[in-house]
Amino acid sequence: MAAPAPTARSWAWLGMLPFTLFALMFLLVPTMFIVVGAFRAEGGGFTLDHVMNLFTPSILAAFSISIRISLASAFLGCVIGFAVACSITVGGLPGWIRGPLLTFSGVASNFAGVPLAFAFLATLGRLGLVTVFLREWFGINIYALGFNLLSFWGLTLTYLFFQIPLMILIVTPALDGLRREWREAAEVLGASRAQYWWMVAFPILWPTLLGTLALLFANAFGAVATAYALTGSSLSIVPIVLFAQIRGDVLQDPHIGYALAFGMIVVTGIGNAFYIWMRSRAERWIK
């Protein structure tokens, strides 16, 4: 590190040079390049045309199904993850379950991408374990009943495999932060369990829950690999449309790629901003 003597304090910023340079070259400038590209006309100058081009039926449909899948997997991930986290913290389960469960959550929340798609194909695909088991033992053909892994619910179900563990990892510390004194105080004042949860615990947990919902949403929205390996390009969610665009599978207006990418940043940006805002509110209670 090219660093100055401690007396020359005004040169201290030099120590930030490598990081700043790295961040500029490989994070900030490439992202800005895309954002600017979304608003730059063919010959230079400002235009809203590319962004307006997003408002065509096929691209709106892609955004719509992406947002719906992300919302569904985030919401279900929140609810189920919260239930599991409750059961290991305040639910009175034996203590030995907690450690392994949190370790497993760490593993599963990082087990995404292509292998996750394989795992679900081997389980719920047409020849998957559960599909065959249900057909041969109970005579239930889930594919005849309209289930398809390469669909809205199939993708949501697959995303839950990393969404639920992420929720467990984030919400368990928040549940640990609920102090016994609060519950005891509520009980002394004559509150029932439901009243305690509804009037004490939930208002405290609320920012954490909403914030995590936003984070899970952004997490699912940006995921490409799982969906691509699972569905090829048969399900037109936004990241896959953009992937095909970059690969050059679809020969269209090249600027639509910039606009699509800009749209993705906007959606995940809103999700993450909401998460950070809620997190700062939630931290007031976790000390």
Binding site: P30, V84, N110, F118
Partner: protein, 262 residues
Amino acid sequence: MKPSRIWAWLALAVGALYFALPLIGTIEFSLRMRRGVYSFDAYRAVLSDPQFRATFSFSVFMALMTIVLGVLVIAPTAYWVRLKLPRWRPIVEFITLLPLVVPPIVLVFGYIRLYNTSSWLPLTGTAGGTNLLLLAGYTVLALPYMYRAVDTGLRTIDVATLTEAAQSLGAGWITIMARIILPNIMVAILSGAFLTFAIVIGEFVLAALLNRPAFGPYLQVLGANRAYEPAALAVITFAITWACMGLIQLVTRLQKHTQVPR
């Protein structure tokens, strides 16, 4: 108290079933290659595939390089911010969180447009340049986790006192970094490193769009063309992820034993 415990067990059972079934399904499927009996044929086929070895070692190499570059970029910065420039902290923290906001596919799109063959820095023109770009991209993906891990490690040691002590003994900045700071936050760095490894090893989007022969794209191509080998590879990848998380737990536990009680 009783009914709540039943609900707790029920929640846990449903959760366990959901997470166990895909794993069991994958393992079972990976053993089905030989008709009628369970066998390890799929694993044998995968492990003897020269492309598997080539792509896997490429990704392992990239993961190790990412860890090295990540430590080189992030550890001195986090140290410097703590020691000299606390006012930069919000900015640095914001930048390290950005990779969670900018989806990887957007990032790599930016790379392709910015560093293409007709640009001022034509990195995508050569294999080496593209590898460099992939390496930088992976380091960006690892930034949030690596920075947080290193910063947590720095919080547990007294940076200012250690630096002054080293300086009064005549140590230069590189000596301070390499022989005082890094060894003291080794556990934090290892946690970040294992997480980085788990992220990079199966990464798909960056490698696919930059056209590098990495493990992720290989998995995807195999998945589109074969039946049983992908399941075997999923089992192997899951085992690697598990090993990484297990190692994080292990080093963290070792840290608790070696730390001097205060």
